[in-house]
Symmetry: C2
Subunit: 466 residues, 2 copies
């Protein structure tokens, strides 16, 4: 399957050029002005061609609760989230489709889904999400969210002695579940990977982390976790380990150049040096960090220390969208208020590189994806520069990153297969998806989380909120 | 002209109701279930009806430079902006149309345009913007941006003795210009108001402020200024007055219940008390404050002190969009990182009230606009809840404010006149606008600001950036 994009605008070192791009067998075969047209012709005139971005951290099924979650910090918000979590695979299917569509239509061609598993239907949940992503054709990194401690263990004890229910599934059974998911669904050549994804130090034992490291080595899997999203987690790490979470994860060998770590808000300078040394990747989720009041991740410090950084939307209940361009914009400009020296601020071209090559590197695919380079896989997005939100014509990348582009994705390809054309997803029927989302939901404002009611007093006390 | 919106969802105290809304003679005449249909029928089923929002601070002609401005703090950014500012009224016309369209399609029915005047064509600039807003039909508060000191006077002197060129137009001539604009264009009953709008303490003498106060009293005009946007301005106020800018403006009588103040990032607790006592309104421009690294305005403190707060996009060169829903979202969630106690955080319903009634109050129109109240003017927006970005159905206001709604404005009315229908602006041809913006611009990355080159060393020195 070959095609040629004619006369597209592409970024050069500090400007733009108009070129043709040949794609053969799913790969970029040539980039130059006035190439011979092979295969189908795609008109790239007045359009900007960029490598596809990575939505490098999300939880697809949170789409069902976007807009309705109370204004709460992570620990209480999670309690509310789980009280009302979706419990059937039809919902998992539709929210994976929705996540894929919103990601694609905002420039993403890859999604890392830290997938919440329905208890008792774990493999079915994974199978369903994989099916949805295959149908859409987006590149999917399915990271089944696992833990082996119960929810309440994620809140620091403070002065009080807290006991927690044991988690309902054993560590060994959880690891076996992931091994089975790998056997059934891990198909890197087909654009579907399974990741080991222990949720984070707040709810995982060392046994679970070690088992994940072992699976990661045995099957060559990437690793994905939350890390130090909140002040409460930083406190908890000290209670649990007597050192920072990063020091502990480094000691047990979890950090590596194929480990992506969502959030990374509360790290020390020493922690940052450890991330740099281990080649770990930070996934910045700015909207979620603001929505949940988690804090501002020190992204400028990461960049100065040479830590690889990319962007994620996070789950739609803490965002409450899957618009990757919005996450990139806010994740870029937010940090200008943390450093008076504007020479350290992120430029739009740097943002694009973080969102594309930064994501690819984190998933150990920096040689295969993330830039317009001959020989790399053709995960590409073509933006329509005649859209009102990208006018007047100024600097196209500046306006794409710093503006509020809407309806600007004209075409998108994954592995050389076109899955968006003329602004529409071509692989699934989005109108049917809308209708099903509508039919399976109802407007609501009156819900109350029983778990929040149980744990709020302890949370306020241990966090010094009186 | 009468019409009835049938079966629309509206917010009740803590839930929603489905009602009919009758509009007669530009005003809301009745709100209740199953009303008699008067005039044209508008189908409100599966749609949310809200009062129109206020884009309470922008500079329309900045649209010409959105996306291309360097990553710089305000003082240097302004130098670059003015080096490349548009110089003809055709550009002013098109960017006012563009600002109106983007504001309308993101829920705004009023715009406060702190309009940059073309030197020598001041009244023509104002006439052109007024004409554009009248054509679109958006409610327009045109605030001609005036000053009587030159650009370089806006940067603190520090230890060095700085001298500045005198401003090219006298204070008296500037005040006469505004008086003439009022006579020609101030037509509150027709939805067009002129505001007195000295840019701020950084570039205005007390004589200019006093003249504006006098015009404001004589013609019953609202007042609009920038206030303490940057740390540099806080420094400058101390150099100029030996006290804070708020103390000074209060002493000379500029603050009032019809004074709106853009930014308000660097205020002391005493300053906040003065804003509350004088009934002044803060216009929060979160995206611009992040983009320019100005800081995070202490919005939660304002709310706790009883200061009225509303939202603005600010000019499109520091945002770089005019999507009001984006400004409302970020302006709401940004503050969660400034206060650990989530009980102080802004809820989506509070955001809606700030964006509607908050804007109306600031413009001394709280009795006439800003809420769905019988007897108020019909500035209304109907949102389509079947749009993918507002699905699944959860809490419509939560999802509108915290999500990333795109293409969701189905209809909008100003003074009872419909100006958006079926998602399209009906009063002007937006495709022609796009074509003209395209034709009058070109892609560019290579510009360099000579003024930035001149003043950067002094700026870095006085701000302690070495």
């Amino acid at each position: 399957m070959s095609f040629t994009i004619k006369n597209a605008l592409v970024a050069t070192e500090d400007s733009y050029a108009t070129v043709d791009v040949q794609i053969r067998d799913g790969k970029i075969a040539a980039i130059a002005p006035e190439l011979e047209a092979v295969g189908t012709i795609v008109d790239g005139a007045n359009k900007l061609l960029l490598p596809g971005f990575f939505n490098a951290h999300t939880h697809s099924s949170e789409m069902w609760q976007r807009g309705i979650m109370s204004v709460l910090p992570l620990e209480l918000w999670l309690a509310e989230l789980y009280d009302f979590a979706p419990l059937d695979t039809e919902q998992v299917y539709l929210s994976a489709l929705g996540t894929a569509v919103e990601t694609l239509l905002s420039g993403g061609t890859s999604v890392v889904d830290h997938l919440v598993l329905i208890p008792g239907l774990e493999l079915e949940t994974i199978a369903t999400a994989v099916r949805a992503y295959r149908e859409v054709g987006i590149r999917a990194f399915v990271a089944p969210l696992i833990q082996d401690e119960s929810m309440t263990a994620g809140i620091p004890s403070g002065e009080s002695a807290q006991t927690h229910e044991p988690y309902f599934r054993s560590t060994a059974a959880t690891l076996e579940l992931i091994a089975e998911a790998v056997r059934q669904f891990h198909r890197p050549d087909e654009g579907v990977e399974i990741l080991v994804a222990p949720t984070g130090i707040q709810l995982c034992t060392d046994a679970l982390f070690s088992g994940c490291i072992e699976l990661s080595s045995r099957y060559n899997l990437c690793r994905h976790s939350h890390l130090l999203e909140t002040k409460a987690q930083a406190k908890l790490a000290q209670e649990k380990y007597g050192c920072t979470a990063v020091e502990h994860l480094s000691r047990i060998g979890y950090l590596s150049d194929r480990t992506t770590l969502a959030h990374c808000v509360h790290l020390t300078d020493d922690d940052i040096a450890i991330l740099a040394r281990t080649g770990s990747t930070v996934v910045h989720n700015p909207l979620s960090n603001l929505r949940l009041g988690s804090g501002i991740a020190p992204i400028l410090k990461y960049r100065q220390a040479g830590v690889n950084v990319t962007f994620g939307c996070d789950g739609a209940s803490s965002n409450d969208s899957q618009d990757l361009l919005e996450a990139i914009k806010i994740g870029s400009i937010l940090h200008n208020v943390t450093d008076l020296d504007y020479q350290h601020w992120i430029t739009p071209r740097q943002s694009v590189e973080m969102a594309s090559l930064g994501g690819a590197k984190g998933l150990n695919l920096g040689e295969q994806l993330g830039s317009l380079t001959v020989g790399k896989k053709a995960d590409l997005v073509l933006y329509d520069l005649r859209n009102l939100s990208l006018l007047p014509r100024t600097d196209p990348i500046g306006l794409l990153v710093l503006g509020r582009p809407t309806n600007v994705v004209d075409s998108a390809w994954v592995n050389g297969k076109q899955i968006v054309a003329h602004g529409q997803v071509t692989t699934i029927n989005v109108n049917n998806l809308r209708q099903e989302l509508f039919n399976l939901s109802r407007w609501d404002t009156q819900r109350k989380s029983p778990t929040v009611a149980q744990i709020e007093a302890h949370y306020r006390q241990v966090m010094g909120l009186l």
